[in-house]
Symmetry: C2
Subunit: 380 residues, 2 copies
């Protein structure tokens, strides 16, 4: 009897040596509202002998079923028109962005938002990427035009980490920049587009691009599960032939059973239900935080709070961001200073922190914010 | 009621447009003997609210529980002494090898077996890698010594694709090469080490390396499931500091629930049971194939059959490998010619094919081999 049905209880060990009570990291999601019941049911149904062909390697671009669901979802939610053949599934931005860069014969000069989401430049591009300043309308396209960049990587729906939403004027300007020269492309990372609290939804750049100059990227990390590691990009038709030539021997990095599970979750309508539910939950957390600051800490400036799962809190007086970060860790609170994502930081900027609220349970928000603020003021 | 327990039947669409009846690809595993019952049970137990912290991002090197199980397994099965801190988990060789290369300040010259497992050089290194010839004792270390390579990537347990096992003399020679100069490392991909049919097991190079010059790699693709995309490398202590500096912002690409499932599968003893079972199944397939060729096709030379899930079949007369491959596809048979993995192929080599037998059900082996051979001879 090699495979018995004995059921020992599964005990997980402690995950981390640092004991964190309140984690304001922007990558955290709400843990309380995850649809474990449905997810387990789908897993149970799919992990079955009748699907034994899923044990073998799959399509290099990812499962056709999942790509079909993604195309449908993007059409309905973001006005994006694409077919499954244009979609490439992978394990995250860090893994997909280098793939995009390899589609160009000579590694093109890449411009990045500053401050910006930066694991990629940190790891791969330290000395080559061109930082472009960001203000409250998003990336400063004027500055981009002064460079020799061929590619620009942006987070227009909720700029990371400032939270700015790229304005309509800047969007038009950016598309003009792309069309003004051969071989210019915009990599649109539609980060946090699922959650919008204030103002009208702005269509994705990809959906208004008539010239095939936008490579759209997104992920299920915020909208579903960070640890599932499912992200994707959409290639313009003009880049598909090149993709197939370069990556013909490539194996998609996401496990096939997980891809099929997610595809079923979407097909059966659970994903849109989940998103609707999460929108309410995050909006409630968002509103609660704003009201706590308004009532108790009017001296703190809040920005970047129109969308997504983090906002920026800024202080008028001078504070040592790094010192505060370390002091907070001793108090079991984790928060990231803005400077962590900034290249060539100016001296006089107001000290700011990225307040990710996705992972803080609603019932603990009051306590969490007060403990955070007390600990910050202890250092001054 | 956003999450009901309705149970629509899950129907998967056809996976491929080419209808393949017999697939001799070396990456295929046996589908009939996969322990779906246990795997589903573990999934059911782990996908639970009590594990909601697993939704968030995990350790960059992978789950500590899985790394602990891997260290234990490697000690018991391969004599490898390492601790979990040295192990880095990722989605496959294609993804992990570039990570290893980034640990060196100036991209080091990399030598590769020729013929060899080549998705990496094909994708990343086309013009930089140094091909080193392979004979029936494995890579020719003499040739390696004539180059300026700093790194060498080898598959010593069952060379891909020739099937050679690196001899004891060559192993010693290779370790001497590594120690003869600063900064030389051997990347030991222990591919197919789980399945050995003839001769004594040879210890891993890593286990006899006293100088910390071996970076060990392996995968669960052959021993468990190709589509799970779990592989790993073990760093010598001397490279860990550098790894932590370069990859501090990196997220492990393997989903955490899958890592925990695999870890439980190993912890509860199912993995070693599964391996023992698969060894019998593959040995039975292996022996059957040898006897079919001996009886019916004595003109075919078989090599590389001492281990693993593929062997090499070679013909004495001249055949066009590519032409045969295409003809076979029309007959719904997939097989890869040796030349597909060879750089600078010589004209007079005997035409050879890689006969992967993992995915052919035992009951169909007779038919599969006869149809393969008939179709090959049809072209001559």
């Amino acid at each position: 009897l090699p495979y018995t049905e004995k059921t020992p209880s599964i005990q997980l060990k402690a995950k981390s040596t640092v004991n964190i009570k309140y984690d304001f990291s922007p990558a955290k999601i709400d843990e309380e509202s995850f649809p474990f019941l449905v997810w387990r049911k789908i897993a149970k149904e799919l992990i079955d002998e009748s699907n034994s062909s899923l044990l073998q390697s799959g399509h290099p671009q990812g499962e056709i079923e999942l790509r079909t669901q993604i195309a449908r979802y993007l059409y309905e939610s973001r006005g994006i028109i694409c077919d499954a053949e244009q979609i490439v599934i992978g394990s995250g931005t860090e893994q997909l962005l280098p793939m995009i860069l390899r589609l160009f014969d000579h590694t093109p000069r890449l411009a990045l938002e500053n401050p910006g989401y930066s694991p990629i430049p940190r790891v791969h591009l330290q000395n080559q990427a061109i930082p472009i300043a960001v203000d409250d309308e998003g990336i400063q396209v004027d500055q981009l035009e002064q460079t020799d960049a061929k590619l620009v990587y942006i987070t227009p729906s909720h700029q990371f980490p400032t939270g700015a939403i790229l304005s309509a004027a800047r969007r038009t300007h950016l598309l003009s920049w792309a069309m003004a020269d051969q071989g210019r492309y915009i990599i649109e990372d539609d980060y946090d587009s699922e959650f919008r609290y204030i103002g009208k939804p702005i269509p994705a750049l990809q959906s208004i691009d008539k010239a095939e100059r936008v490579i759209y990227m997104s992920t299920f990390s915020k909208s579903f599960m960070p640890s599932l590691r499912v992200a994707y990009f959409i290639l313009p038709h003009s880049l598909i032939t090149k993709y197939k030539a370069v990556f013909s021997y490539y194996a998609c990095t996401v496990p096939r059973f997980d891809q099929q599970m997610l595809s079923e979750f979407m097909l059966q309508g659970y994903f849109s239900k989940h998103l609707n539910r999460m929108r309410k939950i995050y909006r409630r957390k968002h509103d609660k935080i704003l009201s706590i600051f308004e009532k108790n800490y009017p001296e703190v400036t809040i920005s970047g709070d129109m969308a997504g799962m983090h906002m920026l809190i800024s202080f008028k007086h001078s504070l040592d961001e790094q010192l505060i970060k370390e002091h907070l860790l001793k108090k079991h609170i984790r928060i990231q200073p803005l400077s962590q994502y900034t290249i060539n930081k100016k001296e006089n900027t107001n000290p700011s922190f990225i307040l990710g609220f996705g992972g803080i349970p609603y019932a603990e928000i009051d306590q969490a914010i007060h403990q955070l603020m007390n600990a910050i003021y202890e250092t001054t």
